[in-house]
Amino acid sequence: MSKQTPLYDLHLSLKAQIAEFGGYEMPLWYPSGARREHLAVLTGAGLFDTSHMAVIHVSGPRVFDLLQHCLTKDLDRCIGKSRLPLSPGRAAYGAFLTPEGHTIDDTVISMLDEENFMLVVNAGMGATITNHLSSETEGLSPAPAIENLSDRMGKLDLQGPKSAIILASTLEKPEILCEPFPFFSFKGHFDESSPLYGDVRLSDGSHILLSRTGYTGEFGFELYMKPVRLESVWRLLMKEGERHGCIPCGLAARDSLRTGAVLPLSHQDIGDWPFINHPWEQALPFAGDEGGFTKTFIGDEALLRNRGKGFFTYPFAGFDLRKVQVGPDTAAVNSGGRRIGTVLTCVTDVAIDREGTRIISINSPDRPEGFRPKGLCCGFVRLTEPAKRGAIIEIKDGRRSLPVMIMDDLRPDRTARRPISSMLPADLRRSADPNK
């Protein structure tokens, strides 16, 4: 029996197409359609119900040691180019591995304070990761407290370049957007017991944890709140958002947006094989050219043994919008017709197209006048041999065979990392620090 988020009836009233995902009945798209939803997140904003995601709260004086042992990311060296330690108010991306280096799940970890962290993991993974962390607390005294908050947390993602403008008109104190608010940082909390509670409140009275993160590659926020607040916050954001081109968005647009942004889907693009030789190695604590890691963690030795061996995962882009159906028999084939791997994800990013040898997006500053992309097939292949950027391979399902190019990036000119000061409404922009 699939679960539903508290907004299920609202999605039905909005005539969403519903599909099962991660054990939840979720909106796949709304009547505007996945294509328009995808484009809205590049040009205006999109609002996603992401309450299917699971949240775990970990706390205690030894919690940092537990996380360093279980996570691939080195939390002592992870912020910015100078690799500063994770600090309160900042977030990081990492993965939990088995001793064999296989992925159990990936996570965004938010540091509330020295002894309190919030972990967001994938739908249905709350219990698995809670148990995994609990089983690794041996020898830590006092043992960290690990609490699966999944059913006590609601989450909405407001994504797109107009997100800050929409938020500004719904925040009690919009000036919090003018203070430093870099990508992968957050403010506020939804739980009364948190010292951050009260820092971010919306005009409907909802207390939220507001995080400058997302799963689209575009500028935006994730809003965490109590489930009881979801409907009120959804209606508030839609009411203010409508005139800025904000529309409800479903999982189909979420999938095509994240693929174009080269973000992995856990249990599809990363999974039961070593978490290495892929586009997400920034989640690994490489020490430098010598090949070791800056810390020890579960799975580290297996990863180093598999570096440059086994499976190699690459982004690819096709030459038109046609895709293949991903299934067990979907293959990646080299120019000689030999099977060299599998297709993990294959979608159409409708905001991009080829212009000569380049890929450009509707947000590319140098796009030709009247640029109207048809979309490009893109995704990830997992090969049994390394491939060079620019190499052409074929992907095939039972029906068609399509040439695709191995890439190191997909949708260009994404907005996720733009300085928040450039995304604010004019009245707030004047008081914002242009460097943050």
Binding site: K15, L28, W29, G33, A34, A252, V324, R399
Partner: protein
């Protein structure tokens, strides 16, 4: 998702199990996909159609429609020769979503046997089948 009662099922076409529709007019059968199929598929982004002059048996695959969600095969509701394909769909595949029984038609077929169309379902039978699947 629309309720079945909100979808359009005209009385003047026949319906196939795989959600194509067929309309006989002056010895030529026009074929498309119905409102239920386009609603389920979502935004249609690409259509592969046969060439004029190709011939197919009833039930044979004649092309595909590709939506944001999936690539779906199209099956001949009747056997015959393709006498026209909707070339407007090359640039505007969304016509299938907007007007599945009108501008979003797929092919015109000169049937081997005109009466084969009567083996398809009428609106009531098709709706009963949909409700059973539901």
């Amino acid at each position: 998702m629309k309720e079945i009662s909100e979808l359009l099922f005209p009385d003047d076409v026949f319906y196939a199990e795989d959600h194509e529709w067929a309309r006989l007019d002056g010895g030529v059968i026009t074929v498309g996909i119905n409102d239920y199929a386009q609603d389920q598929l979502g935004d249609i982004v690409y259509v592969e159609l046969p060439r004029v002059g190709d011939t197919f048996e009833k039930g044979e695959e004649f092309g595909t429609v590709e939506s944001v969600k999936a690539v779906s095969e199209l099956y001949m509701p009747v056997g015959g020769e393709i006498v026209a394909v909707n070339t407007d769909l090359e640039d505007s595949p969304e016509l299938i979503n907007q007007s599945p029984y009108g501008d979003g038609w797929l092919i015109k077929v000169k049937p081997d046997d005109e009466t084969e169309i009567e083996e398809l379902m009428d609106k009531e039978t098709y709706l009963a089948m949909l409700k059973e699947e539901d």
